[in-house]
């Protein structure tokens, strides 16, 4: 039968397409059902790729704004951003990458079925629009992902009150922008539009920016944001937001209990993302859910035999599951290998790197100092500022630091938290160190090339043992 497959994947985001490729590599016949017009999902089309493209534009503008420092002479007039060109370049990057996945599908003989999937009984998936058909599958992988979610009191209208989906497509730079939420999405757009020229206000309910990061990182980012001219309102709750003819009106309750009225061109809601299961028929299929997320075990099996789920749509029942492209991809690899009968091991979610591309960048992996203390570790901390490094001075990027959280008892590295230049790249060393169960001693004895930003990592390890060389 032509529409019978070993594996049917629902969703072609970074979880789904990677699972499909891996399963195909292992000899399975694979079909992927995707309702969007392009492959790649949130990451490629609305998330990681377009936002990071915009951030590169912001960085280019930053360098040019400091042209005189670099001894570069510009024609008269101040440098400005041309959003048409920005959007064109960004869209070209996105298109190239989504086409790249199409190529990979062809190469691996994966069938791309355009339409919306619905579970229709054991081993059966109906495609209910687009290329309508009924698919038979030995194994089904649900990778339907997530979409932006608002908070009570704030109604998204996709015009004045927008989400990241709209924020990546803006045709012009708003004169003023209020951002609700200071997770990765919130602070990245703050950095982009502040650099592009918007007057930016970030409102965060918790008492610090980037609440999942180490508190020292939050403090450093807040310091930098304020220096750059971003208004930071932490511990602040939005009680009302309404669109007007010319913009938005936001009522915010500040920590002292008073209400602050803020007017702006746009309100960007970046308060998190919820699971996408609409129309999928998970309830009818008997799949257990928790707060709307699909419940899975540590090898991503749902409560229904033959149905697995990965990525943003799942919960492991052990607290929030990280909604990150690289996590979904790894889950995709694991689930495909499990289905192909290869030995697999669960992911250690303490070793998932987090990268936030705000300015200054944040890279982190493992436990924060507070988490480590909460788990009962006798904690040793080592911190080293980037500003001391020759490499940072050359680049003119002297903000931030590397902070290492270690266990005194066995010298184990528990967490590494970086904020500052190249932090999203530098974190890779730390991820490997945690993965290989490295001690601070081993990191000290690892030679870090000079002059590089990575010297800060080695120095922070020295500091764990009480003595960085260069401070």
């Amino acid at each position: 039968m032509s529409n019978s497959y070993d594996v049917v994947v629902v969703g072609a985001g970074t979880g789904g397409y990677v699972a499909a490729i891996r399963a195909a590599q292992l000899g399975k016949s694979v079909a992927v059902v995707e309702k969007q017009k392009a492959l790649g999902g949130t990451c490629l089309i609305w998330g990681c790729i377009p936002t990071k493209a915009l951030l590169e534009h912001a960085h280019a503008l930053k360098v040019i704004q400091h042209a005189s420092e670099w001894g570069v002479t510009l024609p008269s007039g101040s440098p400005a951003i041309d959003m048409t060109q920005v959007q064109a370049r960004k869209d070209k990057i996105v298109t190239t990458l989504t086409k790249g996945i199409e190529f990979l599908f062809k190469k691996n003989k994966i069938t791309w079925i355009k339409g919306t999937a619905r579970l229709a009984g054991p081993g059966t998936v109906d495609v209910v629009d687009g290329d309508r058909q009924t698919l038979q599958a030995k194994e089904i992988i649900l990778a339907t992902g997530s979409s932006p979610r608002s908070v009570p009191n704030v109604q998204i209208d996709h015009a004045r009150i927008i989400t990241s989906d709209e924020a990546i497509h803006l045709k012009q730079v708003p004169a003023s922008l209020v951002i609700l939420g200071s997770g990765a999405v919130g602070v990245e757009f703050a950095s982009i539009y502040q650099r592009f020229g918007s007057e930016v206000t970030v409102i965060e309910l918790v008492n610090r920016l980037v609440p999942v990061e180490d508190e020292a990182v939050s403090a450093e980012l807040e310091k930098s944001f304020k220096k750059q001219g971003i208004t930071v309102l932490t511990g602040t709750k939005v009680t009302r937001a309404s669109a007007t003819a010319t913009g938005v009106e936001v009522d915010a309750e500040t920590p002292d209990g008073s209400t602050r009225k803020i007017s702006a061109d746009l309100l960007l809601v970046a308060t998190g993302r919820g699971p996408v299961t609409t129309g999928l028929g998970v309830e009818d299929a008997g799949i257990a859910l928790e707060r709307g997320y699909i419940n899975v075990d540590e090898l991503y099996r749902t409560s229904v035999t033959g149905v697995s789920a990965i990525g943003d749509v799942i919960t492991l029942g052990t607290g929030p599951h990280p909604q990150l492209a690289h996590v979904s991809s790894m889950e995709g690899v694991i689930v495909a290998e499990r289905i192909a009968g290869k030995p697999v091991q669960p992911i250690n979610y303490d070793h998932v790197p987090g990268c936030t591309y705000c300015d200054p960048e944040i890279g982190s992996v493992g436990l924060t100092e507070a988490q480590a203390r909460q788990r009962g570790y006798d904690v040793a901390i080592g911190t080293f500022p980037f500003g001391v490094l020759g490499r940072a001075r050359m680049a003119g990027e002297t903000e931030g630091f590397v902070k290492i959280v270690a266990d005194k008892k066995y010298d184990e590295l528990l967490g590494v938290h970086l904020i500052g230049p190249r932090s999203t790249e530098l974190v890779a060393e730390a991820v490997l160190a945690l993965r290989l169960e490295c001690t601070a001693e081993e990191l000290i004895k690892t030679i870090h090339a000079h002059p590089t930003f990575s010297e800060a990592v080695g120095e922070a390890a020295h500091a764990v043992h009480g003595a960085a060389i260069h401070v």
Partner: protein
């Protein structure tokens, strides 16, 4: 000229020593080689003689403190020198400050025990065998963290089934193995008693700590099994009674232990696997037979070793046993007296135990436990007879020695004892 008194290096592998007691006080005059202080190291306890004659002008390391070898622990001035004047030479390694209230209030200022412990181990503890062990650990798939935990807990990583990629032993594996809760959950050190409970808390002595570590390490390392034989000592008893006076005239005490040691030597010659140890994937057959004999002390236990026991006759064996036991009790053992044992005999019977189930003295693979030797009724030719009997227990490492070998080895000891050649006495 003031003479610095150093913490002696009691054997190659010893990195530090604890001052247990100062025999002399500041202001006392001492003769050269007169006992000055008592130390406890991880191998032996010993009295340390004064390096020079003079007056003890300064004590730099208090009782109970541990310092690295070659640290200056005291100064002896010339006989005429005043007590208060010394300009002490800088210690090679500064003795750690005593725990003061300040140190408790501000614990994060420095971390001297950690730093000092690791450097001391590095500089002194890494002689050839230690390095062999470390290489061995590296061969087994593990991680820096796992090797660190293994070192702290004296765990052989080879014994741990690895759940990681390619059988890699992970943190989770080793913490499970040593029975510690995973992911940072710490044992509550003060939970075993309420703060108001009527208990007295005393720190362990160095020796006690070492015994504790070694015993638990041995249990973790070896697959212990035990066999018990009932052995007739009547022949030995007869010889002993006959020869006792003769031996005493030549200044020796003829004990059962000498006979047992002779029997053990004969059995070890016949079963060299029992005189071996396990190193990684290799068996190390030891050419010398060095018998350790456990000696109970007031505060613990020490196992002095009769070197080349196979070269000794019964008289020599008797002398060696008495000499080592006496010196163990008077703290006169030298470090070399406790090294290089290849087999151990322990004697729980001296306190009345019928038999014991001894723990192997690592890295050896077997230990003989001697139960109480007494007259018991046994069946001889369908009649009940009274004979001098004892239970001998062999504890052995099933990784290397199977039950058949263990029992044959014990049977050989039994044979040797029950048919002891009187002409050999």
């Amino acid at each position: 000229m003031p003479t610095p008194v150093l913490m002696p290096q009691m054997g190659e592998s010893i990195a530090e020593g604890t001052i247990v007691r100062w025999i002399k006080k500041v202001g006392d005059s001492v003769d050269r080689d007169e006992p000055l202080f008592e130390i406890s190291t991880d191998k032996v306890d010993a009295e340390i003689p004064a390096p020079a004659a003079g007056v003890l002008t300064e004590i730099k390391v208090k009782e109970g403190e541990t310092v690295a070898v070659n640290s200056v622990v005291a100064t002896i001035g010339g006989a005429s020198e005043a007590v208060a004047t010394p300009e002490p030479p800088r210690p090679a390694a500064a003795p750690p400050a005593p725990p003061t209230r300040d140190a408790v209030v501000a614990p994060d200022v420095t971390d001297p025990p950690h730093v000092k412990g690791s450097t001391a181990r590095r500089s002194n503890g890494r002689q050839a065998p230690a390095r062999a062990v470390e290489d061995d650990l590296r061969r087994h798939r593990s991680s820096p963290l796992v090797r660190r935990i293994a070192r702290d807990h004296h765990v052989d990583i080879a014994q741990i089934p690895g759940s990681g990629l390619g059988g890699r032993v992970t943190k989770h594996d080793i913490l499970g193995y040593i029975g510690e809760q995973g992911s940072g959950v710490r044992e509550q050190e003060s939970m075993s008693h309420d703060s108001g409970a009527r208990v007295e808390i005393k720190p362990l002595s160095v020796m006690r700590k070492k015994i504790a570590e070694h015993m638990v390490m041995s249990r973790r390392t070896s697959a212990h099994v035990h066999s018990v034989f009932h052995v007739n000592f009547s022949t030995v008893e007869k010889i002993r009674q006959q020869k006792k006076a003769e031996y005493e005239q030549s200044g020796a005490r003829l004990t059962y232990m000498a006979f047992i040691a002779k029997a053990v030597v004969a059995a070890l010659r016949k079963f060299p696997i029992v005189n071996a140890s396990l190193e990684g994937d290799n068996v190390l057959y030891k050419k010398d037979i060095n018998i350790g004999i456990a000696v109970a002390l007031e505060s613990g236990l020490i196992v002095p070793v009769i070197k080349r026991a196979d070269e000794k006759n019964l008289l020599g064996m008797s002398r060696a046993i008495v000499d080592l036991a006496d010196r163990a009790r008077s703290k006169q053992l030298k470090p070399e007296d406790v090294h290089d044992g290849t087999f151990t005999i322990t004697n729980p019977g001296q306190f009345g135990s019928q038999f014991g189930m001894p723990i192997i003295n690592q890295p050896q693979v077997a230990i003989l436990g001697v139960g109480t030797i007494e007259k018991r009724p046994i069946v001889v030719d369908d009649a009940i007879a009274i004979r001098t009997m004892a239970y001998l227990t062999l504890g052995y490492d099933h990784r290397l020695v199977d039950g058949a070998t263990g029992d044959q080895f014990l049977a050989e000891i039994k044979q040797q004892i029950e048919h002891f050649d009187p002409s050999a006495a």
